[in-house]
């Protein structure tokens, strides 16, 4: 374990603020405070435990001693990765990322297929004047449910008069989830490959579609000198400046779910709400837990790729029930992982989940 992490763990005073804010502690065998204690004493930790963490970051944000428990969990996972002893589904995701540069193992040559759904050309970033890159990332490049997001955002950016380009097949996974699974070596390779492309093409600004990508590119790629933003930040600015407006009407009660990597980990709470408020007819509702205390959907930290062992009520279901109680007809999220995890329980309960850009396309 790196010295820095070991030192941080030793400062833990077992106050329990981490466990108090953890979306997994209490309902699963995962207890983040206990893991910190066991790490302090170098006690054995049951191997299934670190995989419950969703990397939502609540523990790290709440910790009064800056122990960064979520980083300690990554270190625990890294040891299991090093030993080659990890859940099979995660192993597949890592091996796929190594070979095809995306956890789903889809062909890298099909990474830009979503562009075919557009009725206008998007240039390679090297051919743009602004050197502004739309970073698509894996789930939105390949998953049939999420492929609509880059298409929508590209149309919205064009409508707002913003120039941008893409890397196409040259883009590799951002590595945000890979690092959190504990595969730091693979993360470094992905980082190196993407940074190589950014440098080669002189990228000046990156618009990330997923909050997970934004987090990695902004905070974990080192001092790149490249401005990294989430697409909601760009659209909110366009709306405020008047370059993007919505002539249509969306007469629905919409509740906004704060994605952990956008909200609590990167402080972007207002922009998605400002966008939704700009939609004529839309009534914006709030969850009982929103903004900094928003409940994690359990899609992060590698949890998109495998199921943990114990059976318990999923947070996505808790979220959907809350949305129903608040009178929402539609749950809006600005993260592909949140959309994917919320959609199943929402469909069961007669609610609709929409990625934020899907609502905007209905009124553009």
């Amino acid at each position: 374990m790196p010295e820095q992490t070991a030192t941080r763990v030793l400062t833990c005073i077992q106050c329990g603020k981490c466990t108090g804010g953890c979306p997994e502690s209490g309902k699963t065998p995962f207890n983040v405070r206990m893991l910190m204690r066991k790490t302090q004493f170098k006690s054995d930790i049951e191997e299934s435990l670190p995989w419950y963490c969703t990397s939502c970051g609540a523990c790290t944000i709440r910790c009064p001693r800056d122990v960064k428990p979520s980083e300690v969990v990554i270190e625990l996972r890294a040891k299991l990765v090093e030993d080659g002893d990890i859940p099979l589904a995660l192993q597949k995701a890592l091996e796929n990322t190594f070979v095809q540069k995306n956890p789903w193992g889809r062909s890298r040559n099909k990474r830009a297929d979503w562009l075919e759904k557009l009725d206008f050309e998007v240039p390679h970033v090297s051919g743009t004047e602004s050197k502004r890159l739309l970073f698509v990332c894996c789930i939105q490049a390949y998953d049939p449910r999420c492929m609509v997001i880059p298409v929508n955002v590209a149309r919205l950016l064009k409508a707002g008069g913003m120039e941008f380009g893409v890397l196409g097949e040259e883009e590799a996974c951002c590595g945000n989830e890979i690092r959190r699974i504990g595969e730091s070596g693979l993360f470094e390779e992905l980082q190196e490959e993407n940074l190589g492309s950014f440098t080669e093409y002189g990228v000046q600004e990156i618009i990330a579609l997923s909050p997970h990508c934004m987090n990695a590119l902004k905070k974990e790629y080192g001092d790149t000198g490249i401005k990294v933003v989430h697409y909601t930040e760009v659209l909110a600015k366009m709306i405020a400046e008047g370059s993007l407006s919505f002539p249509g009407s969306f007469e629905k009660k919409v509740i906004y779910h704060d994605p952990c990597f956008l909200g609590k980990q990167n402080g972007i709470f207002d922009e998605p709400r400002a966008i939704l408020k700009a939609v004529p007819g839309l009534e914006l509702l709030e969850f009982s837990r929103s903004r900094e205390t928003s409940l994690c959907c359990e899609g992060g930290g590698g949890r998109m790729f495998f199921e943990v062992e114990s059976v318990y009520q999923r947070n996505a279901e808790v979220r959907v029930i809350d949305a129903g109680k608040r009178g929402a007809e539609i749950i809006a999220a600005a993260c592909p992982f949140c959309v994917m995890t919320l959609e199943d329980p929402a469909t069961e309960k007669g609610l609709v989940v929409k990625e934020l850009s899907e609502i905007l396309m209905e009124v553009l």
Partner: protein
Amino acid sequence: MNILVFAKRVAATQEEELRIRDEGAAVDLSKVPFKINDWDNYSVEEAVRIVEKTGGTVTAISIGDAESDEVLRRAIAMGARDGFLVSSGEIFHDPGVRSRLIQNFIRKENIPFDVIFTGVQSEDDQFGCVGGILGACLGLPYSSMVIGIDAVEKDHMIIRRELEGGLQERVKIAVPCVLSIQSGINEPRYVSIMGIRKASKVERKVFQAADYAAPASAGIEVVRWTYPEKKGGATMLTGELDTVCGQLLGILKEKGVFQ
């Protein structure tokens, strides 16, 4: 027990739409990523597990170009002690040529072994017979489709072979021998990038395939790459969801899939 394991670097083609180029002369692999042959991955894992229990060494051997070194690094990261690259820019499609090359290499370099593992087949050529031909070349007992190794003794092994109909055949095979390992025999461990980086520090010996080539020319030669003949397309059902579901149910009943 000293085990030699053959590991081949193959194109990861499952997700690719492969294109034939130069009027059938070659397949365009310029944008296709490469990986270890799946069956060889299981073979390396099985060899490492045996050695972890009984002692001995695992030596991974790859025949191919310089890039094949990556599967050797991977095998070493999994637990192989040595990695040998039998280097050649030429692709040996003919399994007979491959087998004789291996035979000559092992004999000329006097490489000690108790057991040789090959994968049942390689994902690219799919002849599925290098193990068998090699056994014959070396005059050793051979067993194919090995799905389990139950006992490892000095002079014999008890293995299980996978048969059709959900059956397995338990076989006692004398050592030294050649085994073709079936996928699913184990769950290969994850090989971390850090592990591969550490393995890179272990020296891999490079041999030149030309030094071991058999005098006889290839009996099998690729004449031309072709696409399979196109047959009738799928039936597309269109219309409202209820109508489509009704149509689908009707078809399934008609075909006897659903009663």
